[in-house]
C-alpha cells in the first residue's frame, strides 16, 4: 500500500491542480511542493520497512489488468529499485522548489507536467510487469517533451523533438521484444505473459541466437536513454535547452532509467547474451567516458559542459554493470545515486547563475568567488563530488565500478578499467578549469561585481543543503546505502556467474583467465568476495528466490 501511495500521490495532486484555475500561480507552486514532498515522506516509509537482507522483490502488489494476456498492475521493489525510488522522490521536491523563482509562465501546466513526470518515473522503477514498464517508460516522454518545448531555451523545439524521436525509436523495438518474450512464454506452455518474475525464470532458457536479438532490442532502448556513445547526441541538446528543473530531473533521475533497465532486464533476463556483448558495451562505455570528458573540456557553455560530463559519468555506470561483478554492479547502483545528486546540484547551480545573468558562457564570469562566496562554496562541493574526491560521494561509486571492471573475469581485458580510470583525471581537468575560470581571477564583467550580483537566497540555500548532506553522507558512510542494494546486486551477478560456468562460455572464460593473469580477483574491504563454495550456495538461494518463492511482504490479496 505504501508503494502505491508513493506512486499515486503525484498523480493525485496533479489531478487536483487541473481543477484549480490557471491564474492562481502561487497555489500551484505550493501544491507542487506539497505533492512532491508528501511523496518523499511516504517513500521514506518504504526505506525503513525495506528488508535489505532479502534479495527478492518486496512490497509486491498484483492487480489484474488484462487477465487473458496475463498483464497486470504488478509493482514491487528490490534493493536497487528502492534506492532509485528514493532518489526520485528526493530530487523531485528539489526540482519543484527550484522552479519557484525561475518559472513564471503557465505555472499550472508546468507543475502538472512535473508531477506526471514523477508518476511516470516512479512507475518505471516500480513495475514488475514488462507491459506496465513499457507504458511508464513511454509516459515519461510526454511531460519531459513539454517541459523542454515550452519552458526551454532558444533551440527548445529542435531539442525536444530530437529527444522524443531518439527515445521513441529505441523503445519501440523494445516493445517488439517484450511481445516476443510474452509469446515465447506462451508457446512454451505457460501462456502469454508479461509478468517479470515469471519471465526472469524463462529468459535464460531462450536459445542464444534469439536471446541476442532480444538483448539488442532492449539494450538499444536503454543505451539511448543512458546515453551510451554513439547514441548520446540528444543529451547535450536536451540538457542545454531544458529549464533548470528539467535538467535536474533529466540528469538526476531520467538517465538512470536506462542504466536501471540494463540491470533489471538485460542482465537478468538475458545473462548469456550479456556475457556475449559485455566487451562491446564496455568498449562503448569507455569511449563514452573519454569522449564525453574530451568534449566537456572544449565547451564554453557551462551547462553544456555539465551535460557532457554526464555522458562520461554514466559511462562508469555502464562499465560497472557489464563487469558483472558484485563490486561493479554495486558501484553502478551507488554511482547512479551519486550522479543524480552531484550533477543535479551542478545543474541547479548553473540555473541560479543563469537566472541572475542570463548567460551561461564561461567567459562572462570570473572572480565570482569574491562577489558570491556562498555560491562559490556550494559550487566547489558539487565540483569536487563530481570529480570524485575521496570523502565525497563520487569517489565511492567510481572506485567500486573500476574495481569491478578490473577484477571482472567476464571482460576480456583490464584495459577497460585502466582507460576508464584516466577518465577520472579528465574529469578533474575540465571541472577544475571550469571552477577556476568562473570563480577566480579578476572580475572581467562589471555585472559580476559585489553588490551588483546577489548571492544565494535562503530558499536556494535550503534547496542545496539536503543535497550536500547526502553527498557527504555517501562519501563518508557509503554502507548505509550499499547494504540496501547488496543482496539484490549479488543476486543479479549470481545468475550470470552460474550461467557463465555452465554454458559454452566456460571454455571462453577459461581461455581468457589463462591468457590473462592480471584479472584474478582481488579481495576488497567493503565487499569481501565470497569463497567459491559460498557462491554456489548463494546462487541456489538466489535462484530459488527469483523463481519459486513469491515475495513475502504485502502481497495484495484483494487483487487476486
Amino acid at each position: 500500500m505504501i508503494l502505491l501511495a508513493t506512486l499515486f500521490i503525484p498523480l493525485l495532486v496533479a489531478g487536483i491542480m487541473m481543477l484549480i484555475p490557471a491564474g492562481q500561480g502561487k497555489t500551484h507552486r505550493m501544491l507542487a511542493a506539497v505533492g512532491t514532498g508528501a511523496a518523499f515522506l511516504v517513500s521514506l516509509l518504504l526505506w525503513f520497512q525495506f528488508d535489505s537482507s532479502n534479495a527478492a522483490f518486496q512490497f509486491v502488489t498484483d492487480y489484474p489488468w488484462i487477465p487473458s494476456l496475463d498483464i497486470g498492475f504488478r509493482f514491487g521493489l528490490d534493493g536497487m529499485s528502492v534506492l532509485l525510488v528514493l532518489l526520485t522522490t528526493f530530487i523531485m521536491p528539489i526540482a519543484a522548489l527550484s522552479s519557484w523563482g525561475s518559472v513564471r509562465d503557465r505555472e499550472k501546466q508546468y507543475y502538472i507536467w512535473m508531477l506526471i513526470l514523477e508518476f511516470g518515473m516512479l512507475g518505471v522503477f516500480m513495475s514488475l510487469d514488462t507491459f506496465l514498464f513499457y507504458v511508464f517508460w513511454e509516459l515519461v516522454l510526454i511531460p519531459m517533451y513539454f517541459l523542454i518545448g515550452i519552458w526551454g531555451g532558444k533551440d527548445r523545439v529542435y531539442a525536444s523533438i530530437k529527444f522524443f524521436i531518439y527515445t521513441m525509436a529505441g523503445s519501440l523495438l523494445m516493445l517488439v521484444a517484450i511481445i516476443w518474450l510474452g509469446t515465447y512464454a506462451g508457446s512454451n506452455g505457460g501462456g502469454f505473459t508479461t509478468d517479470l518474475q515469471k519471465l526472469l525464470a524463462i529468459g535464460p532458457n531462450i536459445a542464444l541466437e534469439s536471446q541476442k536479438w532480444l538483448f539488442l532490442a532492449f539494450a538499444l532502448s536503454f543505451c539511448i536513454k543512458v546515453p551510451v556513445f554513439p547514441v548520446h547526441t540528444w543529451l547535450p541538446d536536451a540538457h542545454t535547452q531544458a529549464p533548470t528543473a528539467g535538467s535536474v530531473i533529466l540528469a538526476g533521475v531520467m538517465l538512470k532509467m536506462g542504466t536501471y533497465g540494463l540491470i533489471r532486464f538485460n542482465l537478468q533476463l538475458f545473462p548469456q547474451s550479456s556475457l556475449h556483448y559485455a566487451d562491446i558495451i564496455s568498449i562503448l562505455a569507455v569511449i563514452g567516458i573519454i569522449y564525453g570528458a574530451l568534449l566537456a573540456m572544449v565547451q564554453t557553455d557551462v551547462k553544456r559542459l555539465v551535460a557532457y560530463s554526464s555522458v562520461a559519468h554514466l559511462g562508469f555506470v555502464t562499465l560497472g554493470i557489464f563487469s558483472m561483478t558484485t563490486e561493479g554492479v554495486q558501484g553502478a547502483v551507488i554511482q547512479m545515486v551519486n550522479h543524480g545528486l552531484s550533477t543535479g546540484m551542478l545543474f541547479l547551480l548553473v540555473g541560479y547563475i543563469y537566472d541572475r545573468r542570463h548567460t551561461r558562457q564561461m567567459s562572462d564570469f570570473g572572480g565570482l568567488a569574491r562577489s558570491m562566496p556562498v555560491y562559490a562554496t556550494f559550487f566547489a562541493i558539487a565540483v569536487f563530488a563530481s570529480v570524485g574526491l575521496p570523502g565525497l560521494n563520487g569517489f565511492v561509486g567510481e572506485y567500486l565500478t573500476l574495481i569491478g571492471a578490473f577484477t571482472s573475469k567476464h571482460l576480456s581485458t583490464t584495459w577497460f578499467a585502466i582507460l576508464a580510470a584516466s577518465g577520472v583525471i579528465f574529469a578533474a581537468v575540465y571541472l577544475l578549469i571550469l571552477f577556476q575560470r568562473m570563480f577566480f581571477g579578476p572580475i572581467t564583467h562589471s555585472e559580476n561585481e559585489k553588490g551588483r550580483i546577489k548571492d544565494l537566497s535562503k530558499l536556494e540555500i535550503g534547496i542545496l543543503v539536503p543535497l550536500v548532506i547526502f553527498i557527504v553522507w555517501i562519501g563518508v558512510q557509503p554502507n548505509t546505502f550499499l547494504k540496501v542494494s547488496e543482496e539484490s546486486s549479488r543476486a543479479v551477478v549470481g545468475v550470470v556467474e552460474k550461467l557463465s560456468g555452465s554454458t559454452e562460455y566456460a571454455a571462453e572464460v577459461t581461455e581468457r583467465m589463462t591468457g590473462n593473469a592480471v584479472s584474478t580477483p582481488v579481495p576488497q574491504e567493503n565487499q569481501p568476495i565470497p569463497a567459491p563454495g559460498k557462491v554456489e550456495q548463494d546462487i541456489s538461494e538466489v535462484e530459488n528466490n527469483l523463481k519459486v518463492s513469491p515475495p513475502s511482504t504485502t502481497v495484495a490479496p484483494e487483487g487476486k
Binding site: F131, L139, G186
Partner: protein, 482 residues
C-alpha cells in the same frame, strides 16, 4: 422469418427503421434540426442497445445471408458510436459553414445501416448491398457543401473511383462464384454464401480463376479501407468533404470495410485452400506499403486535414497486419484498433472542424500556432489525440497497436511488427509537428478572438477524450464479450 433471422439483423433493422422515420419526419416537420438530431441520436442509441442485447447470440440468419452476435455486433456498436459523435458535431459545423440541410441526418443513419449490414454479411450479395448503401450515402455526404467547389470535387472523385472499386469487387465475386459453385445446384443466393464457397474450396488447389477473383475482391476492399496502392482518392476526398463527414468516413467507413474484409479473408484462410501463404504475403505487402507510404507522405503535408488523410492510410496499414496474420488474434487486434481509432480520429477531426473557417481556411499547421495559449483546453485535447495516433501510452492508440503487433509476432511474422514500429517512429514527425505548432510556437493573433464551444461539440469532445483515455483499460471487457 424465424427468430434467429430476426436476431441476426435486429440492430440493422433498428437503425434502418429510424432512418426511414427520420426521412418522413423531415418531410413533415420542416427545418427543425433539433428534432432530426434527437431522432438520429435516439435511433443510434437504440441500435447500440439492440446490438448489446443480441450480442451473446451467435446466429446465422436467412440461409447464410447474414450472421449476428459477437464481433458483428461489436462493429454495430462502433458504427453507431461514430454516428452519435458525428451528429453531436454536425449542427454547429454545418450551420457555420453553410450546409445546414436536414437530409444530413437521414443519410448518416442510412450509411450507418449499410455499414452494419457489411459487418453482418456472410454472403456476397449482402456484402455488396451493404457496401453500396453505405457508399452512395457517403458520395452525397462528401459533396454536402454543395456551393463549395472543393466539396463537389471531392464527391465526384469519390464517386468515380468508388464506382470503379465496386466494379472490381463485383467482378471478383463473379469469378469466385464461377470457380466454386456448380450451376443450378442450390440457387444463386446460397451459391454466393461463404459457407458454400468454403465447402467447395476446402483443402483443394483452386484454379487461377478463383485467385483472380480473390485478388479483385482484395483490390475492391483495399480501396474502401484506403490502403496502398489504392489510397490516392483519400487525401482529396478527405480534404474536400465537410470535416464532420470526413471524421465519419475515415472511421465508420473504414471500419465497415474492415469488418467485411475480416469475414471474407478469414473465410478463405479457414477453408485451408492451397496458396493461403501467398495471400498472406500480399496482404502483408499492402500493410507495409500503406504504413510507409502513408506516413512518409503525411510528413510533407502542410494542411492538417490532408495530413490526417495520409496518416489514415498508414492506420489502414497497421490494421492490415491483423488481416495478414489472420485468426482470432488478428481480428481482435483490428477491432480493438478500430475502437481506439474511432475516438482519436473523430476527436481530431472534431477539433479541426471547430477551428475551420469559411472556404477551407485555418487548416494549415501555421494556423495552429499559439493555440496552446489561445485555447489551452482545445489544444491539450488535440495533443492527446495526436499522441494517441502516434501510439504512445497511456492513450488508446498504443493499446490498439499492441494488439496488432502481438498478433503479428504470435503468427511468426515478427518482421511485420518491426515494420510497424518503424513506421510509428516516422509518424512522430508530423503528429508531434502539430503539437509543436500548437504549444511551442507563438502567433501574432490576438488572444480571445475565438467563439466559445457549443454544448454539443463539448459533449462530443468529452466522449472522444474519455474514450481515448480509458480504452486501454478495457481490453478484458471486449475479450469477454467475444
Amino acid at each position: 422469418m424465424s427468430e434467429t433471422d430476426f436476431l441476426a439483423i435486429a440492430p440493422i433493422t433498428t437503425v434502418a427503421a429510424f432512418s426511414l422515420i427520420a426521412m418522413l419526419v423531415d418531410a413533415v416537420v420542416k427545418k427543425n434540426t433539433t428534432v432530426m438530431q434527437a431522432l438520429s441520436i435516439i435511433g443510434l442509441l437504440a441500435g447500440i442497445g439492440v446490438a448489446v442485447w443480441t450480442l451473446p447470440q451467435d446466429v446465422s440468419g436467412f440461409n447464410g445471408l447474414v450472421k449476428g452476435g459477437g464481433m458483428s455486433n461489436l462493429f454495430d456498436i462502433l458504427f453507431c458510436a461514430a454516428g452519435i459523435l458525428t451528429v453531436l458535431l454536425a449542427k454547429e459545423y454545418l450551420e457555420r459553414l453553410g450546409g445546414a440541410f436536414d437530409e444530413f441526418y437521414t443519410l448518416l443513419l442510412m450509411s450507418t445501416s449499410g455499414a452494419m449490414l457489411m459487418a453482418h454479411s456472410t454472403n456476397f450479395i449482402t456484402l455488396f448491398v451493404g457496401l453500396e448503401l453505405m457508399s452512395v450515402c457517403f458520395y452525397i455526404l462528401a459533396g454536402f457543401m454543395r456551393r463549395q467547389l472543393r466539396s463537389n470535387e471531392a464527391a465526384v472523385k469519390y464517386f468515380l473511383l468508388g464506382a470503379f472499386a465496386s466494379g472490381f469487387l463485383l467482378y471478383g465475386m463473379a469469378l469466385i462464384y464461377g470457380a466454386t459453385t456448380s450451376t443450378g445446384a442450390d440457387g444463386i443466393l446460397s451459391g454466393m454464401s461463404y459457407t458454400t464457397i468454403v465447402a467447395n474450396a476446402a483443402g483443394t488447389t483452386m484454379p487461377l480463376l478463383f485467385w483472380a477473383g480473390v485478388a479483385l475482391m482484395v483490390v475492391g476492399l483495399a480501396f474502401k479501407v484506403a490502403a496502398f496502392p489504392f489510397h490516392q482518392w483519400a487525401p482529396d476526398v478527405y480534404e474536400g468533404a465537410p470535416t464532420v463527414v470526413t471524421g465519419f468516413m475515415s472511421t465508420a467507413g473504414k471500419a465497415a470495410a474492415f469488418s467485411a474484409f475480416i469475414i471474407f479473408i478469414n473465410t478463405i484462410y479457414s477453408s485451408g485452400v492451397e496458396g493461403i501463404d501467398r495471400l498472406q504475403m500480399v496482404l502483408a505487402i499492402l500493410a507495409v506499403g500503406s504504413m510507409f507510404i502513408g506516413n512518409v507522405t503525411a510528413i510533407a503535408q502542410s494542411n492538417v486535414k490532408r495530413m490526417l488523410a495520409y496518416s489514415s492510410v498508414a492506420h489502414a496499414g497497421y490494421m492490415l497486419i491483423g488481416l495478414a496474420t489472420g485468426g482470432a488474434d488478428g481480428s481482435f487486434g483490428i477491432l480493438y484498433y478500430l475502437i481506439a481509432y474511432l475516438f482519436m480520429q473523430i476527436g481530431a477531426f472534431a477539433i479541426v472542424g471547430i477551428l475551420e473557417k469559411e472556404e477551407g481556411r485555418n487548416l494549415t499547421f501555421d494556423d495552429y500556432k499559439g493555440l496552446g495559449k489561445r485555447r489551452p483546453g482545445l489544444a491539450m485535447m488535440m495533443a492527446i489525440f495526436m499522441f494517441s495516433l502516434t501510439g504512445i501510452p497511456p492513450f488508446a492508440g498504443f493499446f490498439g497497436k499492441y494488439q496488432l503487433f502481438k498478433a503479428a509476432i504470435g503468427a511468426d511474422m515478427t518482421w511485420l511488427a518491426i515494420c510497424g514500429v518503424v513506421a510509428s517512429v516516422i509518424s512522430v514527425w508530423f503528429y508531434l509537428g502539430l503539437v509543436i505548432s500548437m504549444f511551442f510556437r507563438d502567433s501574432e493573433e490576438r488572444e480571445g478572438t475565438e467563439p466559445p464551444l457549443s454544448g454539443l461539440s463539448t459533449a462530443a469532445l468529452a466522449i472522444a477524450i474519455l474514450g481515448t483515455l480509458v480504452i486501454g483499460f478495457l481490453p478484458q471487457v471486449i475479450y469477454n464479450l467475444l
